[in-house]
């Protein structure tokens, strides 16, 4: 049986082509992999500013008296940290503590939340949220097809936003503000997937082309570049951010992924809590561990060896333009390898020397304390 799949295009598709985007099929979405080149775009974001079409990301609105209760039940993180105008990065867990998705839940008001979900999982997440909401006074709406999203990332971005959205400059990391832009109701959050300071703007399709051009113009003095998924991936991996479907999935837990800080065991009951509490008390068998190497470029799927024996395989790996060497993360046994531990990675049938490394590999301006203060 053959299944016809239609490729999905974002509202910015024509604009991406106009700017020279090399379009590829990314899990059913036609997205630009690069414009000027991955390294140039990567460096623009690290040193100045870059613009990304991230409209494939999904928006799920959770509203009503039990909105908080539902989100608290399905998330590992404590939604009490998300007071109005703030968001939390969190993992949505199934009953086995595996990840349904990794998300950001923004509190717009006490009974109104915006959840940003991954492109590949937006339908699955929506169904899951609804299935968990039985007997609750809550409305779950998947508005992914109604919104586009642009990420403006880099150390020069706060300067760019001085005239455009001075109120957004006061936002702390993960802060959000609702704002009318070009006559439309939009959401501006101090978030991103690059490790640099910056914003993500969720806006209706009708203004998205104009908004893209506006940001290109605003960023011209600092050398802003349109960026593709290629740079998005090198930037996020340097920053130690997870890619759902590659680094985490339904069968790996938050502790195993090294993101224990998003598990709030003390907040009360939530999906998968029992297993997570057990892992916290008794330890984990495998852990997503970083490594670096020179003498090749590691790729997803490459085998990792410790003292001659296979210790895991790479989940995500690439060349780091900042460190100028290969970086990668993979689930490794034992789970407690110290940075510096000698390893080997098999690349094209050849064992290349590597060493365990601390994640994040690089801390950009998003890791600075006191953003928005």
């Amino acid at each position: 049986m053959s299944t016809a799949t239609t490729i999905q295009r974002t509202a910015l598709n024509q604009t991406m082509r106009k700017y020279g985007g090399k379009m590829v099929d990314f899990h059913g979405w036609e997205m630009p992999i690069q414009f000027a080149g991955i390294i140039k775009e990567h460096e623009a974001v690290r040193k100045a500013a870059g613009l990304f079409d991230v409209s494939h990301m999904g928006q799920v609105f959770v509203t009503g008296a039990d909105a908080f209760k539902l989100l608290q039940k399905i998330n590992t993180n404590d939604l009490r940290k998300a007071t109005p105008g703030k968001g939390v990065y969190s993992h949505v867990t199934n009953e086995n503590a595996g990840l349904v998705d990794d998300i950001i839940a923004f509190c717009l008001a006490a009974d109104r939340y915006l959840v940003i979900v991954n492109a590949t999982t937006s339908t699955k997440d929506f169904e899951w949220f609804k299935s968990q909401a039985t007997r609750m006074h809550v409305k779950v709406e998947n508005k992914s097809s109604a919104y586009s999203m642009i990420a403006v990332q880099g150390p020069s971005v706060p300067g760019m936003f001085e005239t455009f959205a001075p109120e957004a400059l006061k936002l702390p990391r993960f802060g959000i503000v609702e704002k009318d832009i070009m006559g439309e109701h939009c959401y501006v959050s101090r978030t991103g997937y690059t490790g640099e300071d910056g914003f993500e703007v969720t806006a209706p399709h009708s203004i998205i082309d104009k908004l893209w051009e506006y940001f290109m113009e605003l960023g011209k003095p600092c050398g802003i570049l349109p960026c593709g998924l290629g740079a998005r991936d090198t930037l996020r991996l340097e920053s130690g951010y997870l890619l759902y479907g590659q680094d985490v999935d339904d069968f790996h837990t938050t502790y195993e992924s090294g993101y224990g800080w998003v598990v709030a065991l003390d907040k009360g009951e939530f999906n998968g809590r029992k297993i997570l509490a057990d892992q916290k008390a008794n330890g984990i068998k495998r852990r997503l561990t970083g490594l670096t190497l020179t003498g090749g470029v590691p790729r997803s799927g490459c085998k990792i060896f410790l003292e001659g024996k296979q210790a895991g395989e790479l989940a995500s790996a690439t060349y780091s333009p900042t460190l100028k060497k290969g970086i990668g993360v993979g689930y490794m046994v034992p789970p407690d390898l110290k940075p510096g531990t000698p390893l080997e990675v098999e690349i094209h049938g050849r064992r290349v020397k590597a060493e365990a490394a601390k994640v994040p590999f690089h801390k950009g301006t998003a890791f600075n304390k006191g953003i928005g203060a």
């Binding site: 991955i38 390294i39 290629g230 090198t234 090749g296 470029v297 790729r299 060349y319 333009p321 094209h348």
Partner: protein
């Protein structure tokens, strides 16, 4: 340094500048498609190469690419500059970005490869 018109091209996008010591590299089209080259693994001097068999690896940020021997023969020299500075393959694929030199075992083999015009046509066809 050879001009694009002076070299022969393979269907796998290598170029060879024929001669007793033939120079080999990747085409401008190939480097453009690969994107930023960040690692190059060259054959060894003295290594025997077989036409159309993998003999080197070029890694870009995105992906790894096998490089195939355009003709059979023996490697006589390698360009160490490209292992130190892989971006040379992007910047000057026919000049500073050459990969290795080889002594073809059968000089007639290179004659069967595409010239510049045929290669341009080949790229155009492949794009459709």
């Amino acid at each position: 340094m050879p001009k694009p018109e002076e070299v022969k091209y393979t269907k796998t996008h290598e170029w060879i500048h024929p001669g007793a010591e033939a120079q080999v590299g990747i085409s401008g089209h190939a480097q453009h498609e690969m994107g930023d080259v960040v690692f190059v693994e060259l054959p060894k001097v003295g290594q025997k190469l077989e036409k159309e068999k993998p003999c080197a690896v070029v890694e870009s940020v995105k992906s790894a690419f096998d490089i195939y021997a355009p003709v059979s023969g023996e490697v006589t020299a390698v360009n160490d500059a490209v292992t130190g500075e892989p971006a040379l393959l992007n910047q000057a694929p026919l000049e500073g970005g050459w990969m290795f030199k080889m002594k073809p075992s059968n000089p007639a083999e290179a004659e069967t490869l595409m010239n510049w015009t045929a290669y341009q046509e080949f790229i155009k066809q492949a794009a459709h």
